[in-house]
């Protein structure tokens, strides 16, 4: 365990939105002004953002272990600890969560009953924060499950036409996945207990449990079932287009940008740490699923006539990239995966917010009934273009950095998967540009011509997202400086357990400079010496429109 801090920042980070949710629930509607609950929601999320900023400030770069750890016994008889900690892998997901919630409350307001809406959103924020900072497996599971309840109510209560169906499908799929996770967690703890005599669910202790080959594989599958459904990874994705499309804008934004990351985060944090051997054994399977997800998601997205569904399938492809980087099981791939989680969160949140605004103006997401919005709404079109380009992975915007690292990492470890995945990148450009052309280009009809451009309020809401998209595109170093040490520590752990021979001089080490231009220098820890990263980079740079 790392040193514990005198002030429990992470506990506060979880409790502030939770207390906010309780406040929203207990302050009756009639006692205060109509705007009060939304204002309270914004205030609470902004306070959470400030706490997250303090956490980021306190976070020591260059150190790979868990920081700001707080550890208290919670349920002694069951061996559950209130154990929170943060490292480079979770830090930016926490910040992403903290940034997106206030913007969502402001930018995607409820059509009715804003009080309950804000209450559920705050509960969701608490649950997401808790999931990202939990070091105790049961505590993680608690928060992981807790996200379901507000998400279910958000879809079911404020969604669109087929919301009931979507909410149920979402709930049943994810809960069924979690069933395996809980059993897996318990099995891990009891196996650990049989080896050491201590019943604990804390990750740092359980990391050193030894599993036999089949045990490891089965447990890995049990854990991955839950995470693959949550992410979702092909073929467990069938709930996601319905849920993302029928959810209210705020629900879509947060489910795709934050909750989906719980799945990929869970894989990195728990699968790789607990079952390194099984992760390596089954990596080809997961890589294959990831690549299928990338190609399938991109192709199906091409066929969508509904903007929200298009974005839903594009997310399937993007999550595929994150999984691809993860199971490259090397420093670049994993760093890229972690970075891509943040990048994808920012980009997809922007896109969903914008699409929500288009719906507010035109009451449709059908590509066919929108045309030439560029002329009446140039600012909307411009911002959409930036976010879209970032999603395609144009250099200079944040999407590029993550995808590039992922492809390098995968290329050196599993060349052919990277080659196929690169094809998915090209198709991604196709469907997004097609969609963009149909909606924004052309001659607007009379109705299209009346579409209002973004108001100043709306511009201010997306401004932080666009700034981050550009900033992380040109200067990702602060992120990588913090992500890479943690990732390297994880890679070393995996390699040690699986006894992979690391060639001398190629051990993972902190990344010095990480701007996109110099990115090929990141090719470290390569098992195959002359891999020639140049050929891997040809694709990402060659698909600029």
């Amino acid at each position: 365990m790392a040193t514990s801090t005198p002030f429990p920042y992470l506990t506060v980070l979880v409790l502030v939105p939770a207390i906010g949710a309780v406040l929203v629930a207990v302050i009756p509607r009639h006692a205060v002004a109509a705007w009060f609950h939304e204002a309270l929601g914004v205030a609470v999320t902004v306070v959470t953002l400030c706490v997250a900023a303090v956490v980021a400030f306190k976070f020591k770069a260059g150190y790979g272990g868990f920081q700001l750890v707080s550890d208290h016994m919670w349920a002694k008889d069951l061996g559950i600890h209130w154990s929170l900690g943060i490292d480079g892998i979770s830090l930016f997901l926490v910040l992403l969560t903290a940034v997106l919630f206030p913007l969502t409350i402001l930018g995607a307001r409820a059509r009715r009953d804003p009080r309950s809406f804000v209450g559920w959103l705050l509960l969701l924020e608490a649950a997401c924060m808790g999931s990202f900072v939990s070091l105790d497996l049961v505590l993680f599971f608690l928060f992981f499950e807790l996200t379901l309840v507000p998400a279910y109510f958000l879809i079911g209560g404020w969604g669109y036409a087929r919301r009931g169906y979507a909410a149920i499908k979402f709930f049943v799929y994810t809960f069924a996945g979690s069933a395996f996770l809980l059993v897996g967690i318990l099995a891990v703890a009891f196996i650990h207990q049989s080896q050491t005599g201590v019943l604990t669910f804390e990750l740092p202790a359980l990391m050193h449990t030894h599993f036999s080959g089949s045990e490891g594989v089965l447990l890995f599958l049990a854990f991955t079932a839950a995470f693959a459904v949550k992410a979702p990874i092909f073929p467990f994705h069938t709930w996601s287009p319905d849920a993302y499309a029928e959810a209210p804008t705020a629900g879509s934004v947060l489910m795709v940008a934050v909750m989906a990351k719980l799945g990929t985060y869970g894989i990195i944090r728990f699968d790789l740490n607990l079952f390194p051997q099984a992760s390596r054994t089954l990596a080809p399977l997961l890589l294959t699923l990831a690549v299928i997800g990338i190609v399938y998601g991109a192709l199906v997205a091409c066929a969508q006539r509904d903007l929200k569904r298009l974005l839903a399938y594009s997310s399937l492809a993007q999550i595929g990239f994150i999984a691809l980087g993860t199971f490259a099981l090397n420093s670049q791939g994993l760093s890229g995966g972690v970075l891509q989680m943040v990048n994808h969160g920012l980009v997809i949140a922007t896109l969903f917010i914008l699409v929500g605004w288009i719906y507010e103006r035109r009451a449709t997401w059908q590509v066919s009934s929108l045309k030439g919005l560029q002329a009446p709404a140039p600012v909307l079109a411009g911002i959409f273009t930036v976010a879209m380009m970032a999603s395609i992975g144009v250099p200079g915007l944040n999407g590029f950095v993550g995808e590039f690292l992922i492809l390098i990492g995968t290329f050196v470890a599993h060349r052919w998967w990277a080659v196929v995945a690169t094809g998915g990148v090209i198709v991604a450009a196709v469907y997004l540009l097609w969609g963009y052309q149909q909606v924004f280009h052309g001659e607007p009809t009379a109705e299209d011509a009346k579409t209002r451009d973004l108001s100043w309020n709306e511009r201010l809401i997306v401004a932080p997202l666009i700034i981050l998209i550009v900033l992380l595109g040109v200067f990702p170093k602060p992120l990588l400086d913090r992500i890479t040490p943690s990732v390297n520590q994880l890679v070393v752990h995996v390699d040690q357990v699986t006894n992979t021979r690391i060639p001398a001089g190629l051990e993972p080490r902190p990344v010095a400079a990480a701007t996109p231009r110099h990115a090929p220098s990141l090719a470290i820890a390569t098992p195959r010496p002359p891999a020639d990263p140049g050929s891997g980079t040809a694709a990402p740079t060659g698909r600029t429109p």
């Binding site: 002694k76 008889d77 279910y152 919301r163 049943v172 703890a189 507010e360 035109r362």
Partner: protein, 544 residues
């Protein structure tokens, strides 16, 4: 047998040696039974029918006295350790005291809820409380029993009072039907149970639980058909009482027909008593032959988990839904029995304790919602409750989430405990089945919760949509869309004028208190689980 022996050897002085009675070991039970008799006698002394309030007052006072006595017992047991008293017929251990405490609290809550119900329904007299207290004393006896015969005594005391309670609202025809069904099946299961006792006695030579355990640990029975038949019959008897599938047929009808407070009492107290006896008999006496009965319990658990969850999905009546959901809960508690370890017993006890609050609280809300004559029990009657009475809706939502096993409620830890007990004994399949059934079950709890939180009809929804729409041009369209989809999506019957027009339900103060206590328990000990977990753990450690 010592008594018979004495009679045979000294014919000249035919004295019967009564065993020394340690009154402390059965104090809560005596208080409960004494309270029932006292109330009955007092009521017959007056010409005027005793008011409901008086009955409530006496029953509450008696329950609190029993609770205090049980807490005193707890002190005694934790300082002096577990012991066996009254000629080995009563076990005075942590497990026993735990059940006494659970039953006493359940009785207290039921007395409070019954008060409002009886006044609303215009049922006079103290009989409700008398019968409930008698039944509670039977459940307490089952918790304390250390002999199969005493278990049977407790079972009968508990059940016979419950048969009458089920028929209590004589104005409802369903109530009588429910009672008849319950009585016939209950009497049948009791007969099976007694036959089981006889066979076990035949196989082991004793009806005393420690002696049976002792016999089974010393002897290997070459052909143990009689013992196995006895075990099976005992299980059938217990299966009826706890309503495990396939012995559950009576429970939905009985829950639906009985007065709602009685249904809650039945679900909490009858299960607590029956599970106490089941755990004691199977885990401690028949622990050595667990390989023989574990597969049966395994099958009962799987069936209860799945049938309970799946059939509950299809219910339109809240009480029937709760009946099937309680079958699902029985499946969960059986996980702890199946594990047959200290962890399993402790998890089952914790489950019984927390479920008691959840189910009594839920039935309290159902009691309130049912209005005059127990009519408004359809799921559609709950639509829009959140708007009319937000506190009632919030309380019910918490209780439902607790039953669903939502994080940071006692329900989660209860499920976690039994599932971990199953995993601990490598029951991975059982654990996964349990979790999948929890997923199915969570769905119908949430559906009810969403129903409470969805708007009543077209009018309210359209107005809302219009008010909150972002852009003025499409606000109408958005609102309209929401209203139409509301009709299409929600699976229940479309809102009728009657539903829209239904007024507020009145929540009597005492019922509100009971609901409040249940909700507070569920949340507070869900967030700070230490004390109750510790309590259940201690109770298991002090197992004889």
């Amino acid at each position: 047998m010592p008594t018979l022996y004495l009679l045979a050897t000294s014919p000249a002085t035919p004295t019967i040696h009564t065993p020394h009675v340690d009154y402390l070991s059965i104090l809560p039970m005596l208080i409960m039974l004494g309270g029932a008799l006292f109330l009955m006698v007092v009521s017959s002394l007056f010409r005027k029918i005793l008011s409901v309030r008086t009955g409530t007052l006496v029953a509450s006072a008696v329950s609190i006295a029993a609770l205090v006595a049980a807490l005193f017992q707890w002190h005694q047991v934790s300082t002096h350790g577990a012991q066996v008293t009254i000629a080995g017929a009563i076990a005075f251990d942590g497990f026993d005291v735990f059940i006494q405490i659970v039953v006493a609290i359940a009785m207290l809550l039921t007395a409070l809820i019954g008060d409002g119900y009886l006044r609303r329904e215009g049922v006079e007299g103290p009989e409700f409380h008398v019968l409930a207290m008698a039944s509670a004393s039977g459940a307490m006896m089952m918790g304390a029993a250390n002999d199969l015969i005493v278990i049977f005594l407790g079972l009968e005391i508990m059940s016979i009072a419950l048969y009458v309670l089920a028929a209590f609202n004589h104005k409802r025809a369903e109530s009588g039907e429910a009672a008849l069904k319950y009585f016939v099946l209950g009497a049948f299961s009791s007969a099976v149970f007694v036959y089981g006792i006889a066979l076990v006695y035949g196989a082991t030579g004793s009806s005393n639980l420690p002696q049976i355990a002792d016999y089974l640990s010393r002897n290997v029975i070459a052909s143990n058909g009689v013992l196995l038949a006895g075990l099976a019959l005992l299980l059938v008897g217990f299966g009826f009482k706890i309503a495990a599938v396939p012995f559950h047929m009576w429970s939905p009808d009985v829950y639906e027909g009985s007065p709602s407070p009685v249904a809650g009492f039945m679900a909490a107290v009858a299960k607590a008593g029956a599970f106490a006896a089941l755990l004691r008999v199977f885990v401690s006496s028949f622990g050595t032959v667990r390989a023989d009965w574990q597969p049966i319990i395994w099958a009962l658990a799987v069936l209860s988990l799945l049938v309970g969850a799946v059939v509950a999905l299809m219910q339109r009546d809240v009480k029937r839904m709760m009946a099937y959901s309680s079958i699902n809960h029985v499946g969960f508690i059986l996980l702890g029995v199946e594990a047959a370890t200290a962890r399993g017993v402790s998890a089952s006890l914790y489950y019984v304790f927390t479920y008691m609050f959840l189910v009594i609280g839920s039935f309290a809300v159902i009691t309130v919602m049912a209005r005059d004559g127990d009519t408004g029990n359809q799921i559609s009657d709950y639509r829009g409750l959140a708007r009319r009475q937000p506190l009632v809706a919030l309380a019910f939502a918490v209780l439902l989430l607790g039953q669903a096993g939502a994080p940071f409620t006692t329900g989660f830890l209860a499920k976690f405990g039994v599932v971990s007990a199953a995993v601990d004994t490598h029951g991975y399949v059982l654990a996964v089945v349990a979790m999948v059934s929890a997923a199915i079950a969570a769905f119908f709890y949430l559906r009810l919760a969403v129903t409470m939180y969805s708007p009543v009809g077209l009018v309210g929804n359209a107005a809302d949509g219009g008010g909150e729409g972002g852009a003025s041009a499409v606000a109408g369209a958005v609102g309209g869309d929401g209203a139409v989809s509301n009709l299409q999506v929600l699976t229940d019957a479309p809102p009728t004028e009657a539903v829209t027009e239904r007024g507020l339900v009145t929540v009597p103060g005492l019922t509100a208190l009971a609901i409040g206590v249940s909700v507070a328990f569920t949340l507070v000990f869900g967030i700070f689980p230490g004390p109750i977990l510790d309590f259940a753990h201690q109770a298991t450690l002090l197992f004889t």
